[in-house]
């Protein structure tokens, strides 16, 4: 068996190591966020006395806020920020000793969590559609779900590379926490994590088209909900794919220079 399969297995074992934390992460967080969002939007719909806002009914909005928090977890995983911390405290040394690429290793651990949360999305979305939603759960819906899950995995790869770029700045700047917070904020705001992107002015939506942000959360979430066309998905996949390649090259460049800065502090 290849080493990366063991890395995946080990990361999953780490995820399952603490039972209460697992269930809180798996169910608790998502349900609380969903209930809060549902209550808020219920109030907004009632105040505005409308049944549709920017193409979203209340049920669609509820579904959106079931998908989006899990989508954000697919992107940010559990390992985002770890590399910067490891560089900061010197534990990064471990990866320099192993006869493998540190970035392959890190990407695999990161995508393992993304895959885990994608599975969570599959389960919770299916439960919602089968037991709560009034609309029937059809084969088309399942196809949309699978396409959306694939898009989320691509988005996770892009976000992971963006995070890696920023995390490696800690080779120069030691503490880059504020940059990570900014990345998360931009992703949520321009990616559709706070509100669906249709709520932004048209000029802002147009300006974002060639950036990676709309394809990180909004496109996969809307694909799962059946709100996208094939052309939109295909174009989004190409754009995000190109960004992944660009980010990968930048990561390589930063590492090429930054590795001279690593001092392995604390040992």
């Amino acid at each position: 068996m290849k080493w990366w399969r063991y890395v995946v297995a080990m990361e999953l074992r780490k995820l399952l190591a603490y039972r209460s934390d697992f269930w809180i992460t798996f169910l608790g967080q998502t349900l609380i966020q969903l209930l809060v969002a549902r209550a808020l939007w219920q109030m907004i719909f009632a105040t505005q006395s409308v049944s549709v806002m920017q193409g979203f009914t209340l049920e669609m909005m509820t579904l959106y806020y079931l998908i989006v928090p899990i989508g954000m977890k697919i992107l940010t995983g559990e390992n985002i920020g770890f590399l910067a911390r490891e560089i900061y405290d010197g534990t990064f040394t471990r990866y320099l000793l192993y006869p493998l690429s540190v970035f392959q290793y890190k990407t695999i651990t990161y995508l393992t969590y993304s895959f885990f949360y994608t599975t969570q999305l599959l389960i919770l979305y299916s439960i919602f559609r089968i037991f709560i939603s009034e609309a029937p759960y059809t084969m088309t819906d399942m196809g949309n779900l699978l396409a959306g899950m694939a898009l989320f995995m691509m988005a996770a790869m892009a976000y992971g590379m963006m995070a890696l770029m920023i995390e490696m700045v800690s080779l120069w700047a030691d503490n880059i926490w504020s940059l990570m917070v900014m990345l998360r904020f931009f992703t949520s705001f321009f990616g559709g994590g706070f509100v669906p992107l249709t709520f932004l002015p048209q000029w802002a939506q147009d300006a974002l088209v060639w950036t990676p942000f709309p394809y990180l959360v909004s496109l996969p979430a809307r694909t799962i909900m059946g709100l996208t066309t094939f052309e939109e998905v295909a174009r989004g996949s190409v754009i995000i794919g190109v960004w992944i390649l660009v980010f990968m090259e930048i990561v390589k460049l930063i590492w090429k220079r930054g590795q001279y800065k690593y001092t392995g502090v604390g040992i």
Binding site: Y6, L97, P99, I267
Partner: protein
């Protein structure tokens, strides 16, 4: 073989004046200082050899090890280990090397050690038979068999160090860097680790560089030592020869009513000095003996006496 030629490392860091004023000033302007952690040094180590690297804190021991393990790049100079330039980090080199740090964990904290070992088996591509033999041999020798299925974070410090040793040696490295492997361990754990390292060295004959502040580690394991002071090698030679360097000296260990102290005295002044001590103090006990290795090394580290 390890060959080091004029290897040198400088570190640059910023200095900040203490207090809030200093913190505010550092937001706008920073004073950078460069410290020469390792001055140009030369070293050769042959296969099967184990050397002790001795020096006070900040002397440059760990910096040298970090460079030879490929973790940091040197400022200048050359080094090859088993024919590889360490900081190029060739996978073939890393498969034959191990770094064990007494103060850092390399195995995964939240998992039992055996889970980490299975992953390491794949990373280092250890054949199954060799893996099984090594697990058996290492666990047996380190007497840690019963703890391998317990989460690493729940192990005692000594048990964790044993697990670290197992993880680092699973792939039978040809070169081992041991950075203070017995730090923080109680006496029996120290003895166990030393006994294990001696046995491992005998069975597998790796090249080993050991740093330790415990002289017992050095005395038991290292026939050759390198003493490093402020980034420079001040002695490189057999441990046994160190005592000879102060062959003309005798040590007086004195206990008076007020205090206990040691004095190094040239042999020809022994009688005069002893007389003076008796005259100036109410002596309860006095011993005359040759300087111990610890005394000599301490003296070299303090005064930088070069080998004769």
């Amino acid at each position: 073989m390890i060959e080091v030629k004029n290897l040198q490392k400088n570190f640059t860091s910023h200095v900040k004046e203490p207090g809030l004023k200093g913190s505010l000033a550092s937001l706008f302007s920073r004073k950078m200082v460069t410290k020469q952690a390792l001055k140009p040094v030369n070293l050769t180590i042959n296969q099967g050899e184990i050397i002790g690297l001795i020096g006070s804190n900040g002397a440059g021991k760990t910096t040298l090890i970090k460079m030879l393990a490929g973790i940091v790049h040197p400022t200048a100079g050359e080094a090859t280990v088993l024919g590889y330039v360490p900081w190029e980090r060739a996978n073939d080199y890393r498969k034959q090397m191990a770094l064990i740090m007494g103060q850092k964990n390399q195995v995964w904290w939240d998992l039992p050690a055996l889970d980490s070992f299975i992953l390491l088996k794949e990373i280092y591509q250890i054949p199954l038979a060799q893996y099984k033999y090594n697990i058996e041999f290492l666990a047996e020798t380190l007497m840690i068999k019963d703890q391998l299925k317990t989460q690493v974070r729940k192990l005692s410090l000594g048990e964790r160090m044993k697990v670290e040793l197992m993880a680092a040696l699973l792939h039978n490295p040809k070169v081992i860097f041991l950075d203070e492997p017995t730090i923080g361990l109680d006496i029996s754990a120290q003895k166990a680790v030393r006994g294990f390292l001696r046995q491992y060295q005998k069975e597998f004959r790796p090249m080993t560089i050991l740093t330790s502040h415990y002289m017992e580690d050095i005395k038991e394991l290292c026939p050759r030592i390198v003493i490093i002071k402020e980034g420079e090698f001040v002695y490189d030679g057999p441990l046994a020869e160190v005592q000879r360097m102060m062959g003309d000296e005798k040590v007086l260990s004195v206990t008076t009513r007020e205090k206990t102290f040691k004095v190094s005295v040239p042999r020809h002044e022994l009688s005069k000095k002893t007389h003076e001590i008796f005259e100036e103090n109410y002596v309860l006990d006095l011993n005359i003996h040759d300087p111990s290795i610890e005394d000599v090394i301490e003296s070299i580290m303090r005064s930088g006496v070069s080998p004769t």
